[in-house]
Structure formats: C-alpha cells, structure tokens
C-alpha cells in the first residue's frame, strides 16, 4: 500500500529502456520512456502492435526489470530489486488485469479473488471477507461460488478486476482488458474501472488498441517504436454506457488525426 507518502505521483519513470536479445539480434522494445502518473488517474496506453506496450506494462508491473532508467513506484525505486522483493511489490502495490482473464479454472470466483491475499499473509477469515466485498464491488456477489466456466467473458473479467482490487494496490495495470470481449461486455468492464477510479480514487492504466475505449480515459499515451510519441489529456472523457459507439470509420479517422 504505502500511500502515506506525500508524493502525488504513483508512477515516475525516467528513460526506461528494455532490449531483448534474440540470438545475435537485439530488439529494442523500449528506447527511453519517460512519464509520470498521478494518484487517481485513469489513463490509456495506445500504439501499434510491436510498439512496446506490453514490455512497458511488464516493467511497470515489476514482472520484468529495465536495462536502464529509473522507476519509482509510489516513491520507491523498484528498478533493481531481487525476485522476492519484486514479488512482494506485485503482491501489495499492483493489480493485474489480463486480456485472457487468467482465472484459475478449478477454483471458484471467491477463491480466485482470495489468491493475492493468500500470498500476502492475510488470515483466512479476512481473506473471505475482503474477497466477498471486492466481488460485490464488481457486481458479482451472487456468483461467488461459480467456477470461471460458468461465467460469461465479461463476468470473468469482472472477477479478475475484483482479484486485482483485493490488496488495495497503488495501481491497476490492465493489458487489453477488453480485447477478448464483445463491445457490450467491454463497456461494462470500462464502466467498472471508471467507477473504481472515480469513487475509490484507484489509479488505473489501460493498454488498448481500441480508440473508443481510450476515449473513456482521462489521458492517452501513444507509443511508437519504443518511444512515447503522444502524451495528452482526453478533452471530454466519455462515461461508459452513456455514449453510443461511433462507427469504425470515424474511430479510425480519429486515431489517425
């Protein structure tokens, strides 16, 4: 958690670089990325395929370490930590949401939500309570005992959101959270992320290909070839469910603009 520090920046990255070595070829996935994320922001990262979005998310999520540059998460330098320390930070400060949900198939929705607390040393009673509360927040209180295969894609992603919430992380990182959903479920998921951001002040960073989804966030960072090419506020963020999805053509035009 650690929100106690006076710094308003949840994420401060400076000149992050990451190079993959593929045999003799070096792939420079990130070539010096710098930006800051304030507490309580809802922002999206966009960019063409291969531009380094996932690489960036892995670094921000402490799943990977940068080759150079600095990364302050909640005021703490996390760029050069050991495996166990990284695991602790992932557990306490980061909530992940994946494109493919990544729920444990043989486990109920409730138990899936308990998982991060299991590794956080939370006692069983409190685990159940907090998991139930998180499921209620995403509107799935009545599905606590269901297994993932008994839930729709949208519901599964909501369970994943609840799981990301339970340890009260500094930031929720969502890599294409709507990528595997139909547009209606996608908007539902956005609606939940928006309300978590608005009502609980949770910082959310979403990677998306979909300009319509990006317009539901307050700020868009655009990557190209491992560099930030655009970092701008969204003029009038949409409220999920209130705006009709525009035609694909106009979205494409906007994306190009």
């Amino acid at each position: 958690m650690g929100q106690a520090n006076s710094n308003h920046q949840v994420i401060e990255i400076e000149n992050l670089t990451r190079t993959y070595r593929l045999g003799k070829i070096d792939v420079q996935a990130l070539r010096g990325v710098t930006f800051r994320v304030r507490r309580g922001e809802l922002l999206s990262v966009m960019g063409p395929s291969g531009s380094g979005k996932s690489t960036l998310m892995n670094l921000l999520g402490c799943l990977d370490q940068p080759d150079a540059g600095s990364y302050l998460l909640d005021g703490e330098e996390v760029g050069q930590l050991g495996d166990d320390q990284l695991a602790r930070i992932r557990n306490r400060s980061i909530g992940f949401i994946f494109q493919t949900f990544n729920l444990l198939a043989r486990t109920t929705a409730l138990a899936n939500c308990e998982l991060p607390m299991l590794y956080g040393g939370v006692p069983p009673r409190e685990r159940k309570e907090r998991a139930s509360k998180a499921l209620a927040e995403v509107g799935l209180a009545d599905r606590a005992d269901h297994h993932p295969n008994e839930l729709s894609g949208g519901q599964q992603q909501r369970v994943a959101i609840a799981r990301a919430l339970v340890n009260n992380p500094a930031v929720i990182l969502a890599d294409e959270p709507t990528g595997n959903l139909d547009s209606k479920s996608g908007i539902e998921v956005m609606s939940i992320l928006q309300s978590l951001n608005r009502d609980a002040g949770i910082t959310v960073l979403i990677v998306t290909h979909d300009p319509f989804i990006a317009r539901h966030t307050q700020r868009v960072i655009r990557l190209q070839d491992g560099r930030v090419v655009v970092d701008e506020a969204v003029a009038h963020p949409l409220r999920a469910g209130e705006a009709e999805r525009p035609s694909e053509v106009s979205l494409e035009e906007e994306a190009r603009a």
Binding site: G61, N91, L104
Partner: protein, 416 residues
C-alpha cells in the same frame, strides 16, 4: 503463505485430477505394499525359526565330530576318518572339576536302517539315544513310555517312534504300541510314540525311530574307536544356565582337545556349537534374504518415484499459466516450490499409506496360507515404508518443483 495453506493448495490440485493421482500413486502403492508384506513375512519367519530352536531345548550345546568346514559329510564320515566322538568323550564332559558349567550330557548315534513291518520295508532314520534324551530335547510322548535305564542296561530291542513314522508304518493303526517291527532284520517292539515337534532347521525329527543307545551301538550300528570305545554321532550338552553356555563350550573344547591329543595350534577335530550360535547364523542367512527382498522393494519404490516425477513434470507444464499468474499476484519462488513439492510428497505419502493397507492385506493372506507363521503387520515396516515414500516424493518432486519455481512469470503467462 504457510505450510498449511500450501498443503491445501496441493491437495486441491490433486483432487482436481483424481484418476491421474491414483494411477501415479500405483507404483508407490505396490512398492510399499511389497515392502510391508515382505518385512512382515520376514519377521514371522524369523520368529518361527527362533521358536523352533527354543523347542530343541534350553541351554543346549551340540558337539559333533569333524568340523563344519572340512567335513560336510557330517557325523558318520567323521567317525570313520578322524578320531570321532565316543562314549568316553561324552562321559569325560561330566567331570565336575574340568567342566563345572556342564549340567547334563546326552548321547546320540544316528544312522539309517531298512525298517520292515509285515513284509513292507522302507529305509528310515534311526537314532540310538540315552535315557535322558526326552528331557534334554523336550520330546514329549503321546502314547506309551520312553526308553529307560533298564532298556540301556539290557540292550533291549525296544523302539519309540515319531508321529510321521506312525503314519508311514501303521497307516491303519494310530496306536501301534506293542507292534513288532524289524530294523535291519533285528526285531524291535514299539513301546512309545512321540508328539510332533515339527520340522526344525536341521531336519524333521518326527520321522525318526529312537532306540536305546546301547542297543544301537552293539547291534544295529556297531562301530568302535581306538580305545575300544563305541562311537557316537552327537553329544548334547546342557549348561547349568543360559549365560554359562559359552563357558561350558570352552570347557568342553579343552577336555576334548586333551582327550584327542590335539597339539596347541592345530584345529579341533570336532565342533562344539551353542544354540545361540546357530540362531545367529540362521539370522544371518535370513537377513541376507531380507536385504535382497528389501532391495527389490526399494527398486519398485524408485520406479514409483520416477512415475511421480514424470506426472509432476507434466503437471508443471500444464499449469504454466497458473504458475505465471500466481507469481504475478505475489507468489515467491519458494511458495511455488513448496506447493509442488508438497503435491509430490502428498502423492507419495498417500500412496505409501494405501501401500501399507495393501501390505496389511498381503500379510493377512500369508497368515491364512501358512498357518504355522503368525505374520503381523510390523510397525517398523509401516514407519519405514511411509517415511521412505515421503522421501521418495520429496526427492522426485525436487526437479519438477524447481522447474515450476524458476519459470519466468511473463513467459509463463503467455504460455499456450
């Protein structure tokens, strides 16, 4: 995450794939079942043999002519070749000064004779024994009387027969007291029948015909030593107490060496051996057998362990994404390691416990098949087998668990 919770996760993973878990355990089940059965049976056989020796008589020493090493032919050939043992040798052992720890001495001359009853003949073992044989050897009568002092003095032609001899010679007559039989054409009268003593490690003593030693020496197997003394095949010596048997053995050896004029440094021409020594050597043979069986059982456990490792590796591969996710939400290396190690240990120990059950069934089956043995599930075997299977699970779980723990979470999450 603590051990209890890791255990719960491991159990959950196993119960999600019950058939596979059961099949994986099969190797361990069979291995442990074999260990437990074999060890229980081994213990039962050991107890049985010990009991058999007990029934031979307490505080007993045996003295036979020749040595076990040089004269495999035993008593008879030694009697011809070396000085042998004679009545005089046996009497000398009763010297209260030279052999204070000797309580009693029994003499036996063994051989085989053509035994004829009503025209039917067969070759049977004959033992000429002294009047105290029944006391020394715990031989009990089921009918009639034993050979007594009077029979010895009179060189009577009377015989006491073992129960198997009764079956052999008198199939229609369970109580053949007073019947006349011929041993090498000499007529004998049956005066007693012995109770069964069962087979012993040496031979079955139930199919022997006992006659007075004096009769055997003068009429049936006459053979004299150099001093004109009659040969005997075996001397039984009873020591005054069990803990004085080895002292008695030393005294016997000294007396006989002197009587046989054996120079110091030369080998004995007789063998004195106590029951304890026989037991020890029998136990030695048994322990070799037990070790051999144990090795076979250990190999089957090993094979079971390899089966577990195989399935655990498959399981790690299948659950790569799960491992990635667990790491993403905060599982450390050691959490994953512990989870998979526990899974493999639980698998092996559960297999071990089922194997103990199987071993119990096997032990009971042996008890039913061989009613002389009373095999019992040995606690030692149960503990050993369960501990060992736990160790097998641990050992063969290490590699798969290490592999799981060292997966890179990014690659693991992307794994299809």
């Amino acid at each position: 995450m603590n051990l209890l919770e890791s255990g719960r996760v491991a159990l959950g993973a196993l119960s999600a794939n019950k058939l596979r878990a059961a099949l994986t355990m099969l190797g361990i089940i069979i291995g442990v079942g074999a260990v437990v059965t074999l060890m229980s049976a081994g213990n039962a056989v050991e107890a049985y043999i010990t009991n058999q020796f007990r029934s031979i008589g307490s505080n007993l020493l045996f003295v036979a002519p020749g040595t076990f090493d040089s004269q495999r032919g035993g008593a008879a050939s030694a009697a011809i070749g070396g000085k042998g043992l004679t009545n005089g040798d046996a009497a000398a052992l009763l010297d209260p000064v030279l052999a204070p720890d000797v309580l009693a001495v029994g003499l036996e001359l063994t051989g085989a004779a053509v035994v004829d009853y009503r025209g039917e003949s067969r070759i049977l073992s004959i033992s000429g024994v002294g009047p105290n044989y029944d006391d020394l050897r715990n031989a009990k009568l089921s009918a009639g009387r034993f050979l007594d002092e009077g029979d010895q003095v009179a060189e009577s032609r009377v015989a006491v027969i073992g129960p198997l001899v009764v079956d052999e010679l008198f199939p229609e007559n369970a109580l053949p007291i007073g019947e006349q039989i011929r041993l090498d054409d000499i007529q004998f009268r049956v005066v007693g029948v012995l109770e069964s003593r069962g087979g012993s490690a040496f031979a079955n003593e139930d199919n022997i015909i006992y006659i007075p030693l004096s009769t055997a020496q003068t009429r049936v197997f006459p053979s004299r030593g150099r001093r004109g003394d009659f040969h005997i095949s075996l001397i039984y010596v009873q020591a005054i107490t069990e803990d004085r048997t080895s002292a008695a053995e030393d005294q016997i050896t000294a007396i006989l060496r002197q009587r046989h004029e054996i120079q110091s440094g030369d080998d004995d021409d007789f063998t004195a051996i106590s029951q304890a020594e026989i037991l020890t050597s029998a136990a030695g043979v048994l322990s070799v057998v037990t070790i051999f069986l144990g090795a076979i059982a250990a190999i089957s456990l090993l094979v079971g362990g390899i089966g577990i490792m195989n399935i655990m590796l498959v399981s790690v591969t299948e659950r790569t994404r799960e491992i990635g996710l667990r790491k993403a939400v905060g599982a450390r290396r050691r959490d994953i390691l512990l989870q998979f190690l526990l899974e493999s240990v639980v698998l092996a120990v559960a297999g071990g416990l089922l194997g103990v059950g199987l071993g119990g069934l096997g032990t009971a089956a042996i008890g039913r098949a061989a009613s002389d043995l009373a095999p019992q599930l040995s606690l030692q075997a149960v503990l050993l087998a369960t501990t060992f299977s736990g160790l097998v699970g641990l050992f063969f779980g290490i590699y798969p668990a290490t592999r799981a723990a060292s997966l890179n979470p990014i690659d693991a999450l992307r794994y299809e």
